[in-house]
């Protein structure tokens, strides 16, 4: 996933993880609050309405007492109290003005419920039996004022509400009842209605009064007066005497709250309906506010978060970019973040890390460069010291290279003898003759090299520390101040020392001493190598001499054995045959002479130096005599010219002649042999020829007959070797050495 997408995901994550839970909680809280508020409001409103209605009902009841009082007042008129209908009628007529409020008239009944009189007059009603009227019966029962339900006791049978009050006699007996009537309907101008009209809570609400049968006595929708609402549960409940408020639906299906209460003292019920929407309208405003706040509460944090998060993620992105650059290899990348919080701290740490990384990378590079340089130096030394197997050359080359490495000009290389006591100067640079003479042979313990040689590691030695005053003086005169002594080590043993001298007094540092120690090791190994090579050469030479000695011993033994046998039987032979005896005696003489010559040759093998003391011609004569005695064949020797030869050339020619003559004696089965040495200025030729069996050159391996050794010896002195042989035709070996003398003597 590309890194920029990753940073967006971080932002999204922060927003999601901080915002969404908050939003959810906000929403939940808001909704719960709203719901609770609505419920509480509803409950309050309903409660309030219930009380209001009950109070209104009580108020209504209180208002109604006005009318009962009026009637009760009438009922106390003396004439009315008389049981005489005519009197009662006259009194009633007299009180006409006070009865105006009863817009359907007033009626007097006798104790049996018969209509006695009415005002305004209703002659048709006089004498009617109204005892079956419910209100009459109730009044009889209760003895108090009574309100009726809607009935048709009005003039011409109109529907009226009757308020009846008993008329009491002097003795308290019931004399009759006086009943006032109110008309129902909008046309009624009675104050009774007036009281009821005030009941409406507001324009949109409804209020109505139902009688004990559920018929509407009054309704705020005036057309509905007289309607039968007994089927409505609300009406049923209120007529059951309950005070309550209900949330329900009205006739048109609108949500309403219906509060109802029975009117005390009457069989009626008061119902006030208000639309739910109206009730809740105030709270609706509030819930709208709440919703708006909720919306704000969701939107604003989103904006804040989005902005704020960018402020956070921007430094993080900067950090990421810087880290990417470092990962790509641009160490030392730094960033600036000024947020003053953890991110700034993180950025600071990052900067520190990055700088350190750069520093340590640079340090590493430097070290690698140093190491590479050292390896190159060691490599060069290795090449130099492995060039040669000569100790002088090795030490001279090593000294030169070490001086080069250290940037110095003066120094000396010393070889330590086997006993480890004496240092011999083998090579030097920049030393004066006096110094050279002085240090040519030094006991190691007396000199400046003692510490290096004994401790086996390079050592700085200041001139002041020198125990040897004379040497100190000599070196000081040349302005030299410091000596660095490097032991040459192999297998933990010091084989020599290389001393480097400097005009600066500051000691050589640890790393350079380490390098010098490594070089010292390499040179030590090379010197050891040279030793081993010398030893090997000497051992090889010794082995060969040993072989030759053995061969000679064997040869001499054979000769002497033969001689002794002849000597043993010579007397008897001589007696039998003098001629034969003489022959055998001559043979005996030859054998013994041959044996002597062999012995002289043997001596040469035991004392190799002797080979170069006698002239080559003399040596060849000895060889010839020896072979003649051994092989019983004449060996002719001719020597022409005489000149001193270089020792290695003399030895080589001698050995080749010896090997060839041995072959003649052992294998050739020849009848004669010839050795010739011809010395000319600039050229020496040696030739050995026999007339024996010969051999097939191509079928003979070079190891056979010592041919390889002969060839090596010839090559070692730069001479040419020619071997000619044919089966049955004899063999000839010729060695030619050219004298290429050069002006410098090599």
């Amino acid at each position: 996933m590309p890194l920029s997408k990753r940073s967006r995901r971080l932002r999204t994550k922060i927003i999601a993880w901080s915002f969404i839970p908050t939003a959810i909680i906000l929403l939940a809280v808001a909704l719960v609050t709203l719901y609770a508020y609505q419920r509480v409001t509803a409950d309050l409103v309903i409660g309030r309405n219930r009380e209001l209605t009950r109070l209104s009902a009580s108020q209504l009841a209180a208002n109604l007492t006005e009318h009962t009082n009026l009637l009760a007042g009438l009922a106390h008129i003396a004439d009315i109290r008389k049981s005489d209908p005519a009197t009662q009628r006259a009194a009633l007529a007299q009180a006409r003005n006070r009865l105006v409020v009863f817009d359907a008239g007033v009626v007097i009944l006798d104790p049996h419920g018969r209509v006695v009189g009415a005002e305004p007059g209703r002659p048709e009603a006089i004498g009617q039996d109204w005892s079956d009227r419910g209100y009459f019966r109730q009044m009889l029962r209760t003895g108090g004022p009574v309100f009726s339900d809607t009935l048709g006791d009005g003039p011409q049978g109109t529907e009226v509400i009757v308020v009846a009050v008993p008329i009491g006699g002097d003795q308290g007996e019931l004399v009759g009842a006086i009943a006032g009537m109110f008309r129902l309907g909008a046309l009624s101008v009675s104050s009774f209605y007036g009281g009821i009209v005030k009941l409406r809570a507001d324009e949109r609400g409804r209020a109505y009064l139902v009688d004990g049968n559920g018929r509407v006595i009054y309704h705020s929708d005036t057309e509905r007066v007289g309607e039968d609402l007994s089927w409505q549960p609300v009406v049923r409940q209120v007529l059951g005497g309950k005070v309550e408020a209900l949330q329900t639906r009205d006739r048109d299906g609108r949500d309403i709250v219906a509060t109802f209460a029975p009117v005390p003292g009457t069989p009626w019920g008061l119902v006030i309906e208000e639309s739910w929407a109206t009730l809740m309208s105030s709270s609706r405003g509030y819930s709208n506010l709440l919703l708006m706040l909720l919306a704000l509460g969701l939107v604003v944090p989103v904006i804040v978060l989005a902005v704020g998060v960018r402020r956070i993620t921007k430094p993080i992105e900067a950090l990421m970019d810087a880290a990417r650059e470092v990962a790509r290899g641009k160490f030392g990348q730094t960033i600036t973040v000024a947020t003053g919080d953890e991110l700034e701290e993180l950025a600071e740490h990052f900067n520190v890390m990055s700088t350190r990384l750069q520093a340590s990378y640079a340090d590493l590079e430097r070290r690698v460069a140093d190491r590479t340089r050292e390896l190159a130096t060691l490599n060069a030394i290795a090449a130099v010291v492995s060039r040669s197997l000569d100790i002088e050359e090795i030490l001279g080359d090593a000294l030169g290279k070490m001086l080069e490495v250290m940037g110095l000009e003066v120094g000396g290389a010393f070889y330590l003898d086997e006993k480890g006591e004496t240092l011999t100067l083998v090579a030097q640079r920049g030393l004066s003759e006096e110094v050279v003479r002085y240090v040519t042979r030094l006991p190691v313990w007396a000199g400046a090299s003692v510490r290096a040689a004994s401790e086996g590691r390079p050592v700085n030695v200041l001139l002041d520390e020198f125990t040897d005053g004379k040497l100190k003086g000599l070196l000081e005169r040349e302005g030299l101040k410091l000596l660095v002594s490097v032991p040459l080590m192999a297998k933990g043993k010091t084989l020599g020392v290389i001393n480097l001298v400097s005009r600066e007094a500051s000691p050589v540092g640890h790393e350079e001493l380490s390098l010098l120690a490594s070089i010292g090791q390499q040179v030590g190994v090379a010197v050891e190598n040279a030793h081993l090579y010398e030893n090997a050469e000497r051992a090889a030479a010794a082995a060969e001499r040993s072989r030759l000695a053995r061969d000679l011993h064997d040869a001499v033994t054979q000769t002497l054995f033969s001689a002794s046998l002849i000597a043993e039987v010579l007397p008897r032979v001589w007696e039998r045959n003098e001629a034969e005896g003489r022959r055998r005696l001559a043979e005996l003489r030859q054998l013994t002479r041959g044996a002597l010559a062999e012995m002289r040759t043997l001596l040469f093998e035991l004392r190799p130096g002797a080979l170069t003391e006698a002239p080559l011609g003399e040596l060849l004569r000895q060889l010839a005599e020896g072979v003649a005695g051994r092989a019983r064949l004449p060996v002719a020797l001719s020597v022409e010219g005489q000149r001193p030869l270089p020792p290695d050339v003399q030895i080589a020619l001698y050995r080749i002649a010896q090997e060839t003559l041995n072959n003649v004696a052992k294998h050739a089965a020849a009848s004669q042999a010839e050795v010739s040495l011809r010395c000319e200025p600039g050229r020496v030729e040696l030739s050995v020829r026999d007339d024996g069996r010969g051999f097939e050159r191509s079928e003979t391996p070079p190891d056979h007959l010592g041919l390889r050794i002969m060839r090596e010896r010839a090559e070692a002195i730069g001479a040419a070797l020619h071997i000619a042989s044919e089966p049955g035709r004899g063999t000839q070996v010729v060695v030619v050495w050219q004298d290429n003398e050069r002006p410098d003597g090599s």
Binding site: H553, D554, T557, Q558, T559, L560, F561, S562, A563, S564, L565, I566, A567, E568, V569, R572, V573, R584, E587, L591, R630, A631, R632, K666, A669
Partner: protein, 127 residues
């Protein structure tokens, strides 16, 4: 007694022949200078005794050589009739090897000549 002389040095063969010819009852029937020639002569001449130089050159074709075995000696001893084999050598240290390999006697070339004669008498020479 018929004797076969084997040595690569001509002077040794000549001296031995001279010595042997002075003894009565001994005849030198042949001389050999190398192993192959010796075997051929031994098979052909059927000598009674072989004087063998331990350092005689030449290889004998043999199937397998175990250490301490001398194939030439084995081949000689397997001739019929089986000849006596007296080994001569300039190296005294060869005595043990020669006797272990099956030789009937050993005489060193550095020993005095009468030793050789005494050894030969042991085998019935001069009877």
């Amino acid at each position: 007694m018929r004797v076969l002389v084997a040595d690569d040095q001509v002077e040794v063969r000549s001296a031995l022949r001279l010595l042997l010819e002075q003894e009565a009852g001994l005849t030198v029937v042949g001389e050999a200078a190398e192993a192959g020639d010796l075997l051929a002569q031994a098979r052909g001449l059927m000598p009674d005794l072989v004087l063998l130089d331990w350092e005689l050159p030449g290889r004998v074709a043999t199937a397998e050589t175990r250490p301490g075995e001398c194939p030439l000696l084995i081949a000689l001893l397997s001739c019929s009739p089986r000849p006596r084999v007296v080994v001569l050598s300039g190296r005294p240290e060869a005595q043990r090897a020669a006797l272990a390999a099956g030789a009937d006697a050993f005489v060193g070339k550095g020993d005095p000549p009468e030793r050789l004669l005494t050894t030969l008498h042991l085998f019935g020479v001069g009877k």
